[in-house]
Symmetry: C2
Subunit: 291 residues, 2 copies
């Protein structure tokens, strides 16, 4: 059953891709997009990310069944406050924020107070690219989308959000917000920070031009994430501090163990350490992409 109206607030890579995918898959009779800058209206219309693109919040959300907040996480609560007076009763609100505990704690009571229902989401899809020009209708194909209901989440709203992500091509996976934040600190936030640290340290001009010249495809892959938005990632780090610190400590401990094996000049132990890394990675890669 398609939605009568879907509203996307913010049309960056994720919001734009949601719009393209929802239209391509006919998930709603109408897709409306709210943008902040006047010049974005024509741009988003040209990319086809929505049926209607507007600068007017009330117009964007009037009569809508599902609102997807696709703005930076630091402004989402304030945005929700401005949005709620314009919603119809039982409207469902979800988001695409990369951390969930803070958002769920803030938005759940806000929405409930306005007779709407909040369900947190985090699609595990993205790119270091930003903006609607990078959006694509197949961004969610074969991905996982974490959905973070609480004990009080409205069952119908949860079903709407699950169906929505499944309709976009993603597999919804439910877990508590704190579990989500702990897991993504390891597998998403930590890798991003490692890529940034590697860029900073290896490309330090103090090492000279030849250092940069020797950086090849492995380095390119290992630092791709560092090209992401510093503002977006500042917010992610700020909203998941404890879990990220724990992930950094775990990683530093692992690197310290390796350091010990190298200091001991222990080829068998180094090979076993590398072999274990390869085995876990190969197993994961095979299960993630059995084709």
């Amino acid at each position: 059953m398609p939605l009568d109206k879907l509203t996307i607030i913010g049309t960056g890579l994720l919001g734009g891709s949601i719009g393209l995918a929802a239209r391509a898959r006919s998930l709603a009779k109408r897709v409306s997009a709210l943008v902040r800058r006047p010049e974005s209206v024509a741009e988003c219309q040209a990319f086809g990310v929505a049926d209607e693109v507007t600068l007017d919040l009330a117009e964007a959300v009037a009569g809508t069944d599902l609102i997807v907040l696709c703005t930076p996480i630091s402004g989402m609560a304030a945005l929700a406050k401005r949005t709620l007076p314009h919603l119809k009763p039982d409207a469902v609100v979800t988001d695409v924020g990369s951390t969930k505990q803070q958002l769920v704690a803030e938005l759940t009571p806000l929405c409930a107070g306005a007779a709407a229902h909040f369900v947190g989401s985090h699609p595990m899809a993205g790119s270091e690219q930003t903006g609607p020009a990078a959006a694509r209708a197949n961004l969610f194909d074969g991905t996982v989308c974490v959905v973070t209901p609480t004990g009080d989440t409205h069952a119908g709203a949860l079903a709407t959000v699950n169906d929505f992500w499944a309709g976009l091509g993603s597999q919804p996976v439910a877990m508590p917000a704190d579990t989500h934040d702990r897991l993504v600190a390891r597998c998403s936030h930590l890798p991003h920070l490692l890529a940034s640290a590697l860029s900073r340290r290896v490309l330090d001009p103090a090492h000279g031009e030849q250092q940069a010249q020797l950086c090849a495809t492995g380095f390119r892959d290992m630092t791709r994430l560092a090209a992401g938005s510093p503002v977006m990632w500042r917010d992610i780090v700020g909203s998941n501090r404890d879990d990220i610190l724990a992930a950094i400590d775990e990683f530093t401990d692992e690197l310290g163990q390796l350091r010990g094996l190298i200091t001991d000049d222990s080829p068998e132990a180094i090979e076993a350490w590398l072999q274990q890394a390869k085995a876990t990675r190969d197993d994961w890669n095979h299960s993630a992409d059995p084709g």
Copy 2:
């Protein structure tokens, strides 16, 4: 001027790709390849990595102008000792080993004692894939190849090696072996070990199935290198211990600085740290690929 005969010893990803590229670009009138296992003869012939594929060392190197050692670094000195009695005078020997100080120190006098000339090489090209099936003729296009002459290197031999890599599509860059080892410890060996440490720590089964399920494209890129050969990387680590330890310490220091910014809950400093990473990486990426 093409070589009369080029000999490749070992036909994995690099040796196989050298053979394919040398044949495609007519760098030698004859390309000969030495393989170790009988079943590799037909395989390498089928892939077209050489005009002649043989198990016989003397036959492979008879009358050859240039020998490229493409075997694991731990066995290269012993291999060179067996090879030298069969070389014609003034034959040039190079290699593709990922570390250079040990090899240059061992092979330079060995070759000189047999009236041959050694010049170390390290093409900054590769993949986590291995074997002749992964070889491709364009592997060296647009890459850099480090060449490590010493003060005593024969000028003609150095020119032969430089011309050879340029002929394969790579840009030869000369530097001392110890400089090479220090630079690649940072930009190649460290990234590999970070990828392995990340795989080990994130995919630890203790974190549960949902942890692996949330690993997405960023994690995939950040751990690709961990799929490389543990034996090859054990040897690389063993042959470049001090530089790798220094690179690990530099990186740990960088991560510790970030940890401090997060502990201090300093959004401006975290954003500046991320911004610096993005700027250096964007600059490098642009200069590495201006297209």
